[in-house]
């Protein structure tokens, strides 16, 4: 790329350059959507694992979930572009996700009888804000 500030740019070239940079910034900000899809999958996997297993296997699911969340936190901190939609919805999605994780934990540990498949369905709840936000971010 030309580094001279006095370089005379033809208008068509300037428009092309602006378009390319916009595209790069847009591509660089898609991480939030992918991260939310993964978070939804990991969370659902965790709750399904908790519902269908017990003992060391349930503990393994818990550790795996914790490791994935830590990995996602590390991934988020490595990102260099924050899109406008991301900045707009991060707090709301975080609040909805944390609330639904707590609700799912409480409901799954108190309401259902052993062998019920309801915990697996309820396990989808915390993923819903993640996936809907991901859809909203990625379709833009």
């Amino acid at each position: 790329m030309d580094q001279s500030s006095s370089h005379e740019m033809p208008p068509a070239e300037a428009l092309g350059r602006a378009g390319r940079m916009s595209e790069l910034a847009r591509d660089g900000s898609r991480w939030f959507g992918y991260m939310l899809i993964l978070l939804g999958l990991v969370t659902t996997g965790f709750f399904v694992g908790q519902a269908l297993t017990e003992g060391w296997l349930a503990a393994a699911f818990a550790w795996l979930y914790a490791a994935c969340v830590a990995g996602l936190f590390w991934y988020v901190n490595r990102q260099r572009v924050v899109s406008r939609p991301t900045a707009l919805i991060t707090r709301r999605v975080t609040f909805a996700y944390v609330s639904l994780v707590i609700l799912t934990s409480v409901v799954n540990s108190t309401l259902w009888d052993d062998g019920s498949l309801w915990p697996c369905l309820v396990a989808l709840l915390p993923a819903l804000p993640c996936w809907s936000a991901a859809w909203w971010v990625l379709r833009r």
Binding site: Q3, P11, A25, S83
Partner: protein, 108 residues
Amino acid sequence: MSESGSHPRHALDQLIHTPVRLSIVSALAEAEQVEFRFLRDSIEVSDSLLAKHLATLEEAEYITAVKGHVLRRPRTWYSLTATGRRAFDDYLAALRRIVDHHAEEERS
């Protein structure tokens, strides 16, 4: 920042109308916040040259910088201000007028 005259090119904001600064402003117009390294790697310029152009835009109050730390490493994030966004919208509109003007001239 613009020159006077009737040709659309006079409406071009000369502060934005350089390859590096146009690239910076275009990226910032698309995103809420962009980190220094992303700009450096995407525009393919040296740290010092990029810092010089960022300082020019900051001086004109087109962009703002936020310094912070991510996992103990220093990071600088840039955003477009309302003034910068307006200037960039006007700049793009002027560019399109010039391109249209040129196309009309070629047709006639």
